[in-house]
Point group: C2
Chain length 420, copies 2
């Protein structure tokens, strides 16, 4: 008998991601239509643009050598500059107006690594993070690993309810408040609900962290991963843009969703002392994310193909969102009382079944849906209610989205037949 391995406290707190079971289902059932996966549309992936960028990089010895050699921990300087310009342009501002320069930009292995590094830099076991509910389940899993206390305030069509947040902060005593490190806000087309934080609430949120940062600063972690996938409505100013002194907001962005997840490149923008700390920590992780794909993205930004691709993508996803919304409209009978939100961007539609139809792991409804050949992500995983679910229109083509919703409707219908 071999002696057992010892694992750290962090490892012991880190369970299998809740989503694993659902991903496994999709793998094992080839005829399943997955409205669960958070992947992106495969047909529109920018193979041609990437090929063109790679050709350009590798044809000149100097750029070839720069791209295949080690990069720096903070990330390729021209890409940091271009990402910063790009981000500020979305807010119709200049970097200087936001007190930002390339030292305030960190390139990460997707935006997930930024979330990880911020948690590592700012959170000890027992510290408090505030998020809205429901909220991104991968980040919830990370917080559980770290061993923080996560408090939630409800979200609705306009994102996190900041009045409820104010009440929460107000109710806390001094020692409770001293533990609050971060407020996590997905500001655009939230995963899983599709909601965006309203302008009024954005301002209120900034006001709150300014007021309640007394002995130490409470930081807003703005997750803006879906920002560029906007299909309708006005561009909202980022939380970052409402923090022109660069004190209270660190924002995570990614090239995965608007370009190609396979290039696995994200970036963060934030206060000097935070970014410096993240760079030091990242030195321990990997001393720099993949250099080659950073050069590819830089080349795509330079050639303008990145922007062209985002435009194409917005068109593709708008159609897919509309196909799914139309299918829901067509298939879900009004008397069933199924409701859903119409997202203005992102990849997800949040569906609410009547409260007497739970749809989480182990329910009859989930079993019926799988038997019909369709999969979704139960809202429970994102601490939503027992009868909510996330549908994604990212992966499947419109015809499959329609068929998937039809299958889902058959599973709902079954519940009603049963009660008769």
């Amino acid at each position: 008998m071999v002696a057992p391995l010892y694992f750290s406290r962090v490892a012991l707190r880190t369970g299998d991601p809740a989503i694993s079971y659902f991903m496994q289902q999709a793998v094992e059932s080839p005829n399943l239509i997955s409205l669960a996966a958070g992947l992106v549309d495969a047909e529109s992936l920018p193979g041609g643009y990437v090929a063109e960028a790679v050709r350009k990089i590798l044809e000149r010895p100097e750029s070839m050598k720069a791209a295949l050699q080690y990069g720096t921990t903070q990330g390729y300087q021209p890409l940091r500059a271009a990402a910063l310009e790009h981000f500020c342009r979305l807010d119709q501002l200049t970097p200087a107006q936001l007190n930002l320069d390339t030292n305030h930009v960190l390139i990460t292995t997707g935006s997930q690594q930024l979330l990880y590094l911020i948690a590592e830099a700012m959170l000890d076991t027992g510290d408090t993070v505030i998020a809205s509910s429901p909220s991104y389940f991968v980040f919830n899993g990370l917080l559980q690993s770290v061993g923080t206390r996560t408090l939630t305030v409800p979200g609705d069509d306009h994102g996190m309810n900041t009045a409820a947040l104010e009440e929460l902060l107000h109710r806390m005593n001094r020692s409770e408040r001293a533990k609050v490190r971060l407020i996590y806000a997905v500001s655009y087309f939230e995963n899983p609900t599709g909601a965006s934080l309203s302008l009024e609430r954005r301002k209120h949120l900034l006001d709150l962290v300014r007021r309640y940062s007394i002995d130490h600063r409470i930081l807003i972690l703005e997750d803006a991963a879906y920002r560029e996938l906007r299909y309708d409505g006005e561009e909202l100013p980022s939380l970052k843009s409402l923090d022109p002194e660069n004190h209270y907001v660190v924002t995570g962005m990614t090239f995965s969703k608007p370009c190609a997840p396979g290039l696995k490149t994200g970036y963060g923008l934030g206060p000097t002392e935070l970014i410096d700390t993240l760079v030091r920590l990242k030195g321990n992780h990997d001393f720099g994310s993949t250099n080659f794909t950073q050069h590819i993205l830089m080349e795509m930004l330079r050639q303008g193909t990145y922007h062209k691709h985002v435009e194409e993508l917005v068109r593709v996803y708008r159609q897919k969102r509309d196909a799914m919304l139309a299918a829901l409209e067509a298939e879900m009978k009004p008397e069933w009382g199924v409701r859903w939100r119409r997202p203005l961007g992102g990849l997800y539609i949040w569906v609410t079944l009547p409260p007497n139809i739970p749809c989480g792991a182990g329910t009859q409804f989930l079993q019926d849906a799988l038997a019909e050949g369709v999969l979704y992500v139960p809202g429970e995983l994102s601490s939503g209610s027992k009868s909510e679910m996330r549908l994604s229109f990212g992966v499947e083509p419109p015809s499959q989205l329609r068929e998937g919703v039809r299958r889902l409707a058959r599973a709902v219908a079954k519940q009603f037949v049963k009660w008769r």
Copy 2:
């Protein structure tokens, strides 16, 4: 006045990497010959092979989509299979003989991320790691962040002195021994000394962990990053190959050194329960390293260009090593008492000045070397002695290696003039 940011205990334990100062010197002095950088030879980077692999991947829609979509947390399955085959072939064994399959392989963001994940999975503050001295300074920095206690045993021409290790383990009382989690061993052409662990010591090391794993298992972390860069001598069996039950050794490998650091892809092989834990942790970090570069490496392995490239690289580096050794022979006068090791592989030559010439940060010798226009890594950074240094023949071409050593010799000569 804005309130101060709160940082975690880990962040507070994470200083600037000691090497930063030296990298900064290199950046600021364009005429400096850097024998310090751990980068690879730029001229031999496999631009043509990478271009060919990318063309192949992007020309077919199916492979394009697979490479630009999200990958999996554990890494691209065909690459895991190919990496496993490749690793076992170096030991002239099959995966089955080592009780390994693709579930025991994890793809990481360079081999550094494997080191990080293992530290995260296995170490709590106050736990003990044993390493040889001198030892890889980036790993030392990581352990300092984690807050472990690092014990060292001396290394020599044959790597870690396992007799000293045995004595150390023997001397410990039960509670001290209960804290020992990992023994870190760079098994081939160690950074910084260039030494490889002898076969006898490899066997002794395995014997020791088997004997001393009583209440819990003591794991060997074998860092084999330089394994494929062997210029002379016999191939030594890996520590992993001496653990056919897959219980006691986890091995880190990388495609950075033998292929291209810009592709930032490494891999680890180890016991089931460890790899499973690392995958769960990696889910929090990034849910998978860059997928695109994993596909590129897979294509290079398939086309055979990876192996061709390693052969070319071995030829290039052998020449550079010989150029540096010849320059040392020619420039360092015997009466100075400067000694160095002849490495059989890797990228480093370990040089020992007479004990009355310290060469670390703040010394006259370092200042003289910089004035002459040459930079090295002081041995101190790797907890070597005050008069040792690491010279790298990785980056500079042979002519510059010769000139760099000439400049270094002038700095040594200065010390002797002074004493006359």
